[in-house]
């Protein structure tokens, strides 16, 4: 069970990911744009953030960088879930402060494992919060 923040503007994608995670009893909070995402992250201090890159008002790179500037969130795993697949996208994403990268469309068979893998390296962070 983990508190997971999803920053995603597409309703269907948001529903899909929320459905998969909630079915496994994770607590999902959703933000529909970057600004709101940063706000919620500061408020709820999630254990993991799933971040879409193409977002209205503020793109994912900016959001990631902003989140990393907050010392309280600097160690929170951020996994980019994006359909950006052009050369260099991956590097830019990692450079912006993300810990991982899941390409859309997601593979429902492996998605959960890929997400939860990012919780494992620093279980203490989540444990402390609990």
């Amino acid at each position: 069970m983990a508190r997971i923040l999803i920053i995603e503007d597409n309703e269907q994608n948001l529903y899909l990911v929320t459905f998969i995670l909630e079915k496994r009893n994770h607590v999902v909070t959703a933000a529909r744009d970057g600004r709101r995402g940063i706000q919620l992250a500061e408020e709820i201090r999630p254990e993991l953030i799933l971040l879409d890159i193409q977002l209205p008002l503020m793109d994912g790179y900016t959001v990631a960088a902003e989140l990393r500037r907050n010392p309280a969130l600097e160690r929170t795993p951020i996994v980019a879930v994006t359909s950006y697949a052009m050369a260099g996208d991956r590097e830019r994403i990692l450079a912006a402060g993300c810990n991982g990268y899941i390409e859309k469309p997601i593979n429902p068979d492996t998605f959960l494992a890929e997400v939860l893998a990012h919780l494992a390296p620093d279980p203490s962070a989540g444990a402390k919060e609990k």
Binding site: Q12, N13, I20, Q54, Y84, A85, A87, G88, N107, P108
Partner: protein, 743 residues
């Protein structure tokens, strides 16, 4: 001596004169005669008669002067009883009497008698010559006329002598001299007889002379005729003779040779048939006119020989007139002028040809007479000259160059002509001439014509009009400049276009990125929700639902693959495909991909085998791209194989890793192998429905392998199977590779 001077008009033979003669005769002679014994006188008279008779016979039978004279002289001795007789003739040159014949007792007397008509010389012969009358010396002893030769005469026994002049046409031509042994030999009767005899001899002399002349004339005539005939026979000119009607009466061999007619056929009017039909009328008209005007006719006409050949002749005929100026015939010649005609025709043809060439040639041509330094006169020019200059023939022909070519152009022309004359060879130059017809550029050449003395007599000039060429060159020049300008402009445009294209590329990339995102977003839902449903997270599914949802998921995945391929090829074409280089376990990657395609192989009942050489571990490359290549080759192998197996092999070759995928499928035709790796080349379009795909897979693989530093290749046997293999470098990043194992 007795001389009949009293009655010159009377004939000496006249019996009436006898008394007067007697009167003038010296008395002793008269006394002598009167006193002579009648028998003796009769005997002498008879002998004289006999002599005269003999001489007349001789005259009748002998027609040759010398023979006549000699016979007469002999008769005078033999019949006339004279001691000596001789006949002399007057040399027309010296006017001296030259003894022509003699008989009897001859002595030196004859030679001494240098008788002439000159009065100054004495002698009885001379007297006879002067007077034309006979002179008689009755007694040598007393007669003064014989004084110079008396001694000789007496020595020779000449006691009496007489000389009778031989008169022809009133002129003395010669003398008959007779000498007798007895004094007073000549009686009057005898003298009369002897005068008559002398007259007969003179007549004979005249007759013979006339006869000889006639015979000579006949001889000359015959010779002339023979010469004429010879001439006619051997003449190379045909000769003919015709009667007033034109009927031929004679032709010579040359005439026959020229006309081809035999002598017989040439006679009469036969020749007319041999005249060329076209010439008959002209010839006859010409003939008639000439005859009418009484002048020789002259015509050139043709004979057609029996063998068909044609002979051109020049014919001339002159009328032959009799003493009444009537035409009694014609004499004419025909000269074979076939060769001349042929040469004339050839010359005419040649001249016509040359003038035609001269006239029709498009270059300007002119012919100039060199009269003196700087005096050149136009003799002829062709039509191109007139056309170019806009001048008329009258303005050019016979004019000096200075009069035709305006200032200042003729200064150059004269200089060039001088140069040609000096060098005695052709001179060339280019010039611009302003003619009434406009400005022309010309390439001029002038060639001197040398006379027999080696001096230039004429110039032949030609001007090749290069106005069009010069214009074309200028145009070309202008076009070149224009082209250069356009190239520069175009380069500028291209640079702009390139910039725009680069912008477009950037836009395309942005578009692709956007599309990729926009397509993936709905695909995320489709793939995601079908996956969730199939996991039965949303509740249990029956078999049919599971099957249909499975199909939906496969289609969605395929669509995703297509999108990925299109995206990749776009990146490749834009040169934007980038590969990562990171170490990874190749064995694990191979096993992962085999697991991924295993369900497809199982579905078709194909064996999927792998042989990975031991010791193969970490490679530095792009794991995702290597995976993409492997998936592509394996999927293709499975896709195009209906039975048998798909086998993957991995081994190391020196510092290269080689991975090959072999199938037992349909194979590839040799002709298709070459374009296998080109984009959008799914072979055999008929298979499209059977084998889904974009046709981009192998093109992407080739580019990826190349980007990863390796090579890809395919070998195949149609209907047996194919092997696709690719290599990857094993050495560390940045280290130099050895030669590729296949190289």
């Amino acid at each position: 001596m007795s001389a009949n001077k009293q009655n010159p008009g009377a004939s000496p033979q006249s019996s009436q004169r006898s008394p007067s003669k007697r009167e003038n005769s010296s008395l002793p002679a008269r006394a002598d005669i009167s006193n002579a014994v009648p028998e003796v006188r009769l005997s002498k008279l008879n002998r004289t008669y006999a002599l005269v008779s003999d001489v007349n016979q001789t005259i009748a039978s002998v027609h040759q002067t010398q023979e006549l004279f000699e016979t007469i002289c002999r008769s005078a001795i033999e019949q006339g009883g004279f001691r000596m007789a001789w006949i002399g003739l007057i040399d027309p040159q010296t006017k001296q009497v030259k003894p022509a014949a003699s008989a009897g007792e001859i002595d030196s007397l004859l030679e001494k008698q240098n008788m002439t008509l000159d009065d100054s010389v004495g002698g009885f012969t001379a007297a006879a010559l002067r007077t034309g009358e006979h002179v008689v010396i009755h007694e040598s002893e007393g007669d003064p006329n014989i004084a110079p030769w008396r001694a000789d005469a007496l020595q020779m026994g000449y006691r009496a002598s007489a000389v009778f002049p031989l008169m022809v046409a009133g002129e003395v031509r010669g003398t008959l001299n007779v000498y007798a042994a007895e004094p007073d030999f000549f009686g009057d009767d005898q003298l009369t007889l002897l005068d008559e005899m002398a007259a007969d001899i003179a007549f004979a002399l005249e007759f013979i002379a006339e006869d000889e002349q006639r015979r000579l004339f006949v001889l000359l005539l015959r010779e002339s005729e023979e010469r004429y005939h010879t001439l006619a026979r051997i003449s190379p000119v045909g000769i003919f003779r015709a009667d007033p009607n034109g009927a031929t009466t004679y032709v010579n061999p040359a005439w026959c040779a020229i006309t081809g007619l035999s002598y017989e056929k040439g006679m009469g009017m036969g020749w007319l048939d041999a005249i060329h039909p076209d010439d008959k009328e002209t010839l006859s008209r010409n003939w008639q006119q000439s005859t009418y005007q009484g002048r020789p006719s002259y015509a050139e006409y043709r004979f057609v020989r029996p063998d068909g050949t044609v002979a051109w002749v020049m014919g001339q005929a002159v009328p032959e007139l009799n003493s009444e100026q009537q035409i009694i015939g014609y004499v004419g010649t025909v000269t074979d002028i076939t060769e001349r005609k042929r040469a004339e025709a050839a010359l005419q043809a040649s001249e016509r040809q040359h003038s035609l060439i001269f006239a029709s040639i498009s270059d300007i041509l002119f012919y100039i007479a060199v009269e003196a330094e700087d005096r050149y006169r136009f003799l002829s020019v062709n039509s191109a000259f007139l056309k170019a200059t806009g001048l008329t023939e009258g303005q050019v022909i016979g004019k000096l160059v200075q009069e035709v070519i305006p200032e200042p152009a003729h200064a150059l022309v004269l200089e060039k002509y001088r140069e040609a004359l000096r060098a005695k060879k052709a001179v060339h130059w280019e010039e611009v001439s302003v003619y009434p017809a406009g400005k022309r550029h010309g390439e001029v050449s002038v060639t001197p014509i040398l006379g027999t003395d080696g001096n230039c007599t004429h110039l032949i000039g030609a001007v090749h009009d290069v106005t069009e060429r010069v214009r074309a060159e200028a145009e070309l020049h202008r076009l070149n400049a224009e082209l250069e300008e356009r190239v520069a402009q175009r380069t500028e445009e291209l640079r702009d276009a390139m910039i725009r294209a680069q912008d477009a590329d950037r836009m395309k990339s942005a578009f692709l990125a956007t599309m990729s995102h926009e397509l993936r977003t709905p695909l995320n839902s489709i793939i995601g929700f079908t996956g969730v449903l199939l996991q039965e997270l949303a509740g249990p599914l029956n078999a049919e639902q599971s099957k249909q949802l499975g199909m939906t998921r496969d289609s969605a995945r395929h669509l995703l693959a297509l999108i990925n391929d299109v995206l990749d090829i776009s990146k490749i074409e834009a040169g934007q495909l980038e590969v990562a280089r990171a170490p990874f376990e190749i064995r694990a990657t191979i096993e992962d991909t085999l697991r991924t395609v295993s369900p497809q192989a199982q579905k078709k009942g194909l064996a999927l085998a792998a042989a990975i050489a031991p010791g193969i571990g970490v490679v530095v490359s792009d794991r995702r791209r290597v995976e993409q290549i492997l998936l592509n080759l394996l999927s293709n192998a499975i896709k195009f194989t209906e039975r048998g197996e798909v086998r993957l092999e991995c081994r190391m070759l020196d510092r290269w890793l080689e991975i090959s995928v072999t199938d037992t499928g349909i194979g590839i035709r040799p002709e298709d192998l070459g374009r296998l790796f080109e984009p959008f080349q799914q072979l055999e379009s008929g298979l499209n429905r059977l084998h889904e795909g974009t046709g981009l897979g192998l093109a992407i693989c080739k580019n990826l392998v190349s980007l990863l530093g390796g090579q890809i290749r395919a070998k195949s046997e149609w209907g047996v199977g194919s092997t696709f293999s690719f290599t990857l470098p094993l050495a560390q990043k940045g280290a130099s590779h050895g030669a590729h194992p296949d190289h």
